[in-house]
């Protein structure tokens, strides 16, 4: 809703620099130690040989036909996934924005759940649907798990909510009278939509498409589980090159390539977001939604409901059904035994481990992200600080695998000997959580009227008091939402955790992946059961958030 607000003109303030630097100190230190240093170290390890940099290896790797194949596949599957997601989800965005129907709130929550589901769960759910012995295989002998279709469908499942929320959020606030005016002037329904609504939605569509492209370009868990040996994204290839083939040079080069690609995507994204904030006539969303009228509108609503049922509800439902596919909750009770041979502990202990890690990661992410958002929200924030804004997004796209490996080789000696420590996992997970915290808090903080703060200051309140009395009440809700996101993201984090979680202390996603890698019904069933538990925890976290959320213009 802050979109409609007119910007308060920045006022120069003395002492702003010091305060800003103070707020930035901890986030900057955090990112330097737990992101830049490990990533640089692993890249350096791959590209340095006998004291000199091996830049020549870069062209060598990039001209390798196998690597060329990976780059090509990564790009085209991300493009295809993005196009398919837009195709499937844009009608959904329209329905959520324009139509009012019973159960809309519930449905909005339902379509958002997949976004917070861990990639491992999404992979597992699609395996249960389209894999060997999956539902389609049982019914019609159709298997997609060795084809690119399984990957594309899983990506649509995962990112449907990104489009519905980003595009639908804006769509709901567009004044429908503009389109109506165009029709009165003789434009056909389609022409009016194309000339009036589409241009207004353009930046939001672009922003959503870029986010989907970013998430699918760096896809790991889904491709790892559904891809087989022939399909490999950059992220999966970095994992294979490091952990299985032990070609650290190739892994380092691929990390740099992914870094550049993600940097470019984020730059374009930042640009579209700025454009989205440009002047549009926005209205309260509650005024724009109506009951569907006429056959065409009911048909649109019906087709969206059908899509949601088949694409978004069916895979998790099959997952749950498979997890119950043993007499008397057999797979769930099996989780409590520690004699499976896969782990040294009963798989059920992974639940406690995951929750503990996620709480710690959430606290770290909220602290670091909150401070960063506070610094970025200041109107006197300079160019340097705004540059940091984009940097904070980087962990979303930089190979989690690289971060995990970097942790292993850098944080193992004094003064930062964390290798044997449990805190390593929450630290890595917090890195991925921080961007969500910043993106959730920033719009809200920026919307706080500066004059309120100034009034309080003039009346003699200390900066701390100003924050407590003015900012906190306004951001408290956003802070809880941010915490919820960080929590869900930490629970599901897989790429970095898979390396640094100790073998005797697996998190839920790591335990699921390892169970899936083992033969036999019981292991498969336990993987389904653990995935179901993880899904329920994430869904509950999200449903709580949905109740808190009033502002639907957020980017996620």
């Amino acid at each position: 809703m802050d979109l409609a607000r007119t910007e308060v003109a920045p006022r120069p303030r003395r002492g702003g620099n010091a305060a800003r630097l103070g707020l930035m100190a901890l986030p900057v230190a955090f990112f330097a130690v737990f992101f830049a240093y490990p990533v640089t170290a692993i890249v350096r390890r791959g590209l340095r040989d006998g004291g000199s940099w091996q830049w020549g290896r870069i062209t060598e790797v990039l001209t390798d036909p196998g690597i060329g194949h990976v780059l090509w596949f990564t790009t085209w599957q991300a493009l295809a996934s993005t196009a398919l997601t837009l195709l499937v989800a844009l009608p959904g965005a329209q329905v959520f924005a324009r139509y009012d129907f019973p159960g809309k709130q519930l449905l909005r929550a339902v379509v958002t759940v997949p976004f917070v589901l861990p990639t491992v769960v999404v992979g597992t759910a699609f395996l249960a649907l389209v894999g060997r012995g999956g539902l389609l295989d049982d019914l019609w002998g159709v298997r997609l798990d060795t084809t690119v279709w399984a990957i594309l469908l899983a990506h649509v499942f995962f990112n449907y909510a990104v489009v519905v929320r980003t595009v639908g959020g804006l769509w709901a606030q567009l004044d429908p009278r503009q389109e109506e005016a165009a029709r009165m002037l003789g434009a056909s329904r389609f022409a009016a939509w194309r000339r009036v609504t589409l241009p207004a939605l353009g930046p939001a569509v672009a922003a959503a498409a870029l986010m989907v492209f970013l998430f699918t370009f760096t896809s790991f868990g889904v491709v790892q589980i559904l891809g087989g040996p022939t399909f490999s994204t950059l992220e999966v290839e970095i994992y294979r090159q490091t952990s299985q083939i032990f070609d650290l040079t190739t892994a380092a080069v691929l990390t740099l390539v992914q870094f550049l690609a993600v940097g470019a995507i984020l730059l374009v994204h930042a640009w579209t977001v700025r454009r989205r904030e440009s002047a549009l006539r926005l209205v309260d969303p509650s005024l724009t939604a109506r009951r569907p009228r006429g056959a065409a509108q009911w048909a649109l609503l019906g087709s969206v409901l059908l899509t949601v049922a088949v694409l978004l509800v069916l895979p998790p439902a099959v997952l749950v059904q498979r997890s119950l596919d043993a007499p008397g909750f057999g797979y769930y009770t099996a989780l409590t035994h520690d004699d499976s041979g896969v782990f040294l502990v009963a798989p059920v202990t992974a639940i406690g481990t995951s929750l503990r890690y996620a709480v710690a990661a959430t606290l770290i992410a909220v602290l670091i992200g909150g401070l960063a958002a506070a610094a970025l929200a200041r109107r006197d924030a300079g160019r340097l600080v705004r540059g940091f804004d984009a940097l904070l997004m980087l962990p979303l796209g930089v190979s989690a695998v690289t971060v995990g490996f970097g942790f292993l080789i850098t944080l193992d000696r004094p003064p930062l000997d964390l290798r044997g420590s449990w805190i390593l996992v929450p630290l890595a997970q917090a890195l991925v959580g921080v961007p969500f915290v910043v993106r959730t808090l920033l719009p809200v903080l920026r919307a706080v009227d500066e004059r309120l703060r100034e009034a309080a200051a003039v009346l003699g309140a200390s900066p701390w008091r100003v924050w407590r009395e003015v900012d906190l009440p306004i951001v408290r809700r956003a802070l809880l939402i941010a915490a919820g996101f960080a929590f869900a993201v930490s629970l599901g984090e897989f790429g970095a955790t898979v390396f640094i979680a100790r073998p005797d202390n697996p998190t839920l996603p790591v335990a699921v992946a390892r169970l899936l890698g083992r033969p036999g019904d019981l292991n498969y069933g336990q993987a389904m059961a653990l995935s179901t538990i993880l899904m329920v925890v994430c869904a509950v976290a999200l449903l709580v958030l949905e109740r808190l959320r009033t502002d639907r213009t957020g980017e996620f």
Binding site: G66, F246, L411, R419, L427
Partner: protein, 347 residues
Amino acid sequence: MVTLSACGSSGSSGSTGGSGGSKTVTLVSHDSWAVSKSVLADFEKQSGYTVKVLKDGDAGQAVNKAILTKDNPQGDVFFGVDNTLLSRALDNGLFQSYRPKDYDTVASRYRADETEHRVTPIDTGDICVNYDKKYFADHKLTPPAGFDDLIKPAYKNLLVTENAATSSPGLGFLLGTAAKYGDGGWQDYWKKLKANGVKVVDGWEQAYDQEFSGSAGGRKAGGDRPLVVSYASSPPAEVIYADPRPKTAPTGVAQGTCFRQIEYAGLLSNARNTEGGKALLDFLLTEKFQQDMPLNMFVYPVRESAEVPADFAEYGPQAKDPETMAPDRIAADRDQWVKSWTSLVLK
């Protein structure tokens, strides 16, 4: 930040509390590690050490992670680097020298690194193509005898193997073909194998327990490939784990397709508990442990005097004339072969 560093300083793996880390010895291994509880308990009782085991993924992954973390290792002893990856571990300085007490009992054909004794052979096995007896009987087809048969039209679309880049039996099979056909011939052989419909999957579990029609798991999963790259010791596993036990194994081994694998263990370079690690290495060569291995990990002992359980010897005899390859040749060419193989077969 202060609290973070404080947490970190408890780096030692000691989880037993009061008595300190030195009474716990940690073994890092791959997922296939297994030992009878009683045998391990005996060792703990006699030596006074508590053994902690960390299973860290499949064989290759466990080795690579051990190398990456060698400055501050997760444990004291690493078990499970085989001859195909041995050079990678040695070149990267993963192990320190130790010659276990019973070293002289190890058959000389399995020994390696005898000047420095950084690794000790523990077990051996043969990577061979297994066949589904029922399929070949039903189709009145002779099972393949050697590598040459696999590229014949009669065996089209029957074989499933593992990714040589990511799986140790997959790599063993590739090395077997390289040993058999040499530098000039193996690529040509794989082209023919590919033309003959070989299927490649990522790991052994998937190949053997999902795709192979002859294993208990594969039958259940509807596997439709009657030939799979696995181990010479897979047939006894099909008998011993079956209930009721069949009189003969449902699967057989194509004798002319075998490659010999030897697994080693060593004391990690920066082990915290070197004394415990040495005791643990000694234990791995004892007769008790060596005789316990076959039915737990389905491998053969390297100790000359160790007796192999009768079931095991009957259903899974060692291959008569497996392909082998000198460790330095593997070291020199492995990465290049895997690279060529990947672009030839997978892309």
